[in-house]
């Protein structure tokens, strides 16, 4: 079933239901008045502060550390080096070794004798104030012997310079999916060979530049080792996983550790990590026996909190002459940075099942080599693996359309899964449960004014305007709602993918909901309240959602991968249903009826065929009093549920972007962005639209502005917000969004994830639009981010201009436009 927004309006939802309402968020009152609980707000009696001394070198041996001046600095309590704690600091965990023979360097929180990226912690100052700690950090005198650094991803893959010489290689793991081997499709090499003689082969190489998640709240950790219990507050997405791993790494009993994620200011995957700073704060607090706080500066955050993306993608697409795709081969190089972080090695694997996207490809192969370098380690960033895949396929489908000289939608429609073909098992082995690409596309084109803009584009091309119009298409899908535990197990991931919830009925009829999902801006308190209000028939205001504290919500797997609603929300539904089942015999007893005759509807238990009944609140009070319960029934309605999904879920959508490109200056300006997303049933449309807007801008930012750039010595030159260009309000536009509805069939609510959708979809739409604007000039690609310089150079190169060499010589550090074979890629748009 798929409904457009218009149709949904005609069949107006039941106004008594909370689900589907634009509820204003419960979270907002404290956030708009400044009564917030960020970790850095916390002050405890006697609390000490940390400052980190970080390596200025990408790769160097530490030959001497003189900490005497720092130790003598006012109010410094202790100065700790890696050597001081070498035996007790442990190593940071890698929870996802993607192959049994993965090469995984040790990852000490404080470097002991060698540093492997610029920004690595070399010494820790413990002082009575943050300012005094930072003052003393300047006084630590460290001697380094600089070593050659592995910086360029392709060169590192050839082991020219080793990031960790003791390992003998930079190659960490090679991971392959092959449809013939898996029995899900044919032989991709045969398909490509056939197309070379009797079809079309498109070969491209795309660069996923390095990005920085850049959540607005810098990371902060406070550890209080009071008595037996050690409490950690941390600005994290994953309090439960952090608790487990703190115990596993340090040997402290898990039952003695409490982790609290209070208000957390954004994450986007960037706080899906167990960090050196968290382990160091934990260690120091235990050593000194006092509360300890560490809050990073923004510069430290950009330099040392994990980065994202950073891949080279070599792609080969084969098709018949009519545009029917016959095979797709993907060869990736993925830059891990200096270490294989918590799930960093697995991020490209999350994309392995998505390069075939919404299409019916008969043969598919995915190859990925992960590579160690002397740069900041990479890990999840919004979309994690799926934006990379979506970019590759949606860019190359446009190239196929260009090769055939047809509208980009023509090749997509020819190859996509028709709505009547769902459920559909893909060549990557996933079963897509529901979707309707035709409906979403029709609505998006209408919203965008596709035909009118194409007509305008033609007029401006014909007139030879200096500013040309380009139209970019992205018909994306993704796998989200991480994840079925068995699937994660088959991929060698270190944990499951279930989520836990508890529903507590209070005697007054109020409800407490405990969730293992851990919000950091998503609005869980509001959306989950809506679900429970409908399920139990209680008022929205009477539901309190508690999360982010392992003592309150003791069990959970936290928030990432667009999982909170589709996995965590479903756990809440199941716990609420158990409450109802527990209440039924009590209601029957009080109503002097048979349990079989009890109906529950809109918060009321009633006897079939009569007007007798009791409200949920009355049952809750009677259960609390426990004066008159049936024999053998426990005096509690409280219920738990742990939900393990049977499948991922598969939101999709059609995104359309119009870009103006000045062919003389290379300046690009967004004119219009319209999208129709299908995320199944919607709990709170207001929250959904907010997730999409923010996601879109992060994806657009990858296309146009953001890139983490290192110089030849391995120093991050985009190390502050002056150089790492987060978009501002003045850079962006308002969006035209709508949705169609193909309910998910794998959860009760029929919902699909939305947290990453905008980011996954938007990047190729923007770049396709930029290329489309200047394709008639001979441009076939522009490297991201599509800066004016790169766009201008791509145009100039296509025109055969000679000025390009001058520009290339002027800024060699900012680009890597050599192809995998070492030749210069003239179509990359790089300099």
């Amino acid at each position: 079933m798929t409904l457009t927004e218009d149709e949904m309006t005609q069949t107006a939802p039941d106004s008594t239901l909370e689900i589907g309402k634009d509820r204003r968020r419960k979270e907002d009152q404290r956030l708009i008045t400044g009564r917030t609980r960020w970790t850095d707000n916390l002050t405890l009696p006697g609390m000490l502060h940390l400052a980190m001394v970080r390596s200025p070198f990408a790769h160097a041996t530490i030959t001497n550390i003189d900490k005497s001046a720092a130790e003598a600095s006012p109010n410094v309590v202790r100065v700790i080096t890696g050597a001081d704690v070498a035996d007790e600091q442990g190593g940071l965990p890698n929870a996802w070794p993607i192959t049994p023979d993965q090469v995984t360097p040790n990852h000490p929180p404080i470097a002991v004798d060698r540093v492997v990226f610029a920004g690595e912690i070399v010494a820790v100052i413990v002082a009575r104030s943050a300012a005094e700690a930072r003052d003393a950090a300047e006084l630590v005198d460290i001697d380094y012997d600089e070593l050659p650094a592995a910086l360029d991803l392709k060169e590192a893959a050839e082991d020219k310079v080793l990031a960790h010489p003791e390992l003998g290689t930079n190659k960490s793991a090679f991971w392959r999916f092959d449809s013939e081997e898996a029995g899900t499709g044919g032989n991709v090499d045969q398909a490509i060979a056939k197309a070379r003689t009797d079809g079309i082969v498109i070969e491209r190489e795309y660069r996923q530049q390095r990005l920085i998640p850049a959540f607005m709240e810098p990371r902060s950790t406070v550890v209080d080792p009071t008595g037996e219990q050690i409490t950690m507050w941390s600005s994290t997405q994953i309090p439960h996983i952090l608790k487990f791993l703190l115990a596993a790494v340090t040997g402290v009993s898990e039952s003695k550790i409490r982790v609290i994620a209070p208000d957390v200011g954004g994450g986007f995957g960037g706080k899906l990590q167990t960090t050196p700073e968290e382990f160091i704060t934990f260690l120091v607090a235990r050593q000194v026996g006092k509360p300890v706080k560490y809050t990073e500066t923004r510069s430290e955050s950009l330099m040392a909190a994990h980065h994202g993306r950073d891949q080279w993608q070599k792609l080969t697409l084969s098709a018949e002459k009519d545009g029917t795709v016959t095979g797709f081969k993907v060869e990736l190089l993925a830059d891990l940075g200096s270490h294989v972080s918590l799930v960093g090695g697995g991020v490209p694997v999350l994309g392995a099942f998505m390069f075939n996207a919404i299409y019916k490809f008969p043969a598919y192969q995915f190859n990925c080599q992960t590579v160690l370098t002397n740069k900041t380690w990479t890990d999840a960033y919004r979309g994690a693996g799926r934006p990379e895949a979506t970019y590759a396929i949606e860019r190359i489908m446009d190239e196929l359309a260009a090769e055939l000289g047809v509208d980009p939608f023509e090749v997509r429609e020819k190859n996509w899964i028709k709505h009547e073909e769902f459920p559909f098992t893909t060549v990557a082995g996933l079963e897509y449960d529901s979707g309707n690409y035709e409906a979403a596309t029709a609505r998006a084109k209408e919203l965008f004014g596709y035909d009118e803009l194409r007509a305008e584009q033609k007029r401006r091309r014909d007139a030879g305007d200096q500013v040309q119009l380009g139209i970019g298409v992205s018909t994306f899908t993704e796998m989200c709602g991480l994840a079925p535990s068995r699937v994660l197990g088959s991929l060698d991931y270190g944990a499951g993918g279930w989520e836990h919830a508890s529903v507590r009925m209070l005697p007054t009829g109020k409800v407490e909901v405990l969730t293992g999902a851990s919000a950091h801006g998503q609005g869980h308190e509001t959306a989950f309240s809506q679900i429970v209000a409908d399920r139990l028939g209680v008022a929205f205001e009477d539901v309190e959602v508690l999360h982010g504290d392992t003592m309150v919500s003791h069990k959970g797997l936290d928030t990432y991968g667009s999982r909170s609603l589709v996995v965590g929300g479903e756990a809440i539904v199941k716990a609420a249903d158990k409450v109802i089942e527990k209440a039924k015999p009590i209601a029957a007893h009080l109503l002097e009826a048979s349990v079989d005759d009890i109906e529950f509807n809109a918060g009321r238990f009633s006897v079939k065929g009569t007007d007798q009944g009791l409200a949920m609140a009355e049952i809750a009070l009677a259960t609390f009093a426990a004066h008159n319960l049936p024999d053998g029934v426990e005096p509690s309605l409280d219920s738990d549920a742990t939900f393990d999904p049977v499948n991922f879920n598969y939101p999709h959508g059609t995104h359309l972007c119009a870009m103006e490109v000045d062919t003389e200056t290379g300046e690009v300006t967004m004119r219009k962005y319209a999208a129709c997303d299908d995320i199944g049933n919607i709990i709170n449309p207001l929250i959904v639209s907010g997730q999409l807007h923010g996601g879109l801008v992060q994806g657009i930012a990858q296309a146009l502005w953001e890139e983490a750039v290192y110089d030849d010595s391995g120093t991050l030159v985009t190390g502050s917000f002056v150089d790492y260009l987060l978009p501002t309000a003045a850079d962006t536009i308002s969006f035209d969004l709508d949705h169609t509805t193909s309910p998910a069939t794998t959860n009760t609510l029929g919902t699909k994830g939305v947290g990453e959708a905008g980011t996954i979809a938007s990047t190729p739409a923007v770049v396709n639009a930029v290329v489309d604007a200047v394709r008639h000039l001979g441009v076939t690609d522009v490297r991201m981010p599509c800066t004016p310089e790169r766009v201008w150079k791509a145009i100039n190169d296509a025109r055969g201009g000679a000025q390009a060499e001058t520009v290339g010589a002027a800024a060699p550090h900012f680009d890597e436009s050599t192809g995998m074979d070492g030749t210069v890629d003239r179509t990359s748009g790089g300099n």
């Binding site: 907002d28 807007h693 502050s720 987060l726």
Partner: protein, 156 residues
Amino acid sequence: MTRINLTVDGSKVSDDVEPRMLLVQYLREKLGKTGTVIGCDTSNCGACTVHLDGTSVKSCNVLAVQADGSEVTTIEGLAQDGELHQVQKSFRECHGLQCGFCTPGMIMQSVDLLKENPHPTEQEIRVGLEGNLCRCTGYHNIVKSVQHAAAQGGAQ
């Protein structure tokens, strides 16, 4: 140490501060005004925006000693007699915040913007908020929030 006297959110305060102490550090560390937050170290993000004698400033870009004798309003002093400022109401109404970390600065800047220009165009709002970064909302609903506040007479 230097003695400063100022009014913060309607209360007179007096403290000895290091000359290097930033206003935002003074607000957070000395006064416990943790509603005002620090998002960067280069004065780019605007999360620490407050009003100094009625005009928005990034409080990481002002020394505490420079605020001597002045009147400072933070996000915590914006509501009057328990009644939220219209801009606060509009941010909630239009879902102009998600994680909420940029929100104090974004609201304080929006209040100042509307004071100078009670009926801004969308583009004037976007340019007026250029010094405040948000990573969650894509600015779409922040712009709507300011438009909503303007329509409700939020310049007051």
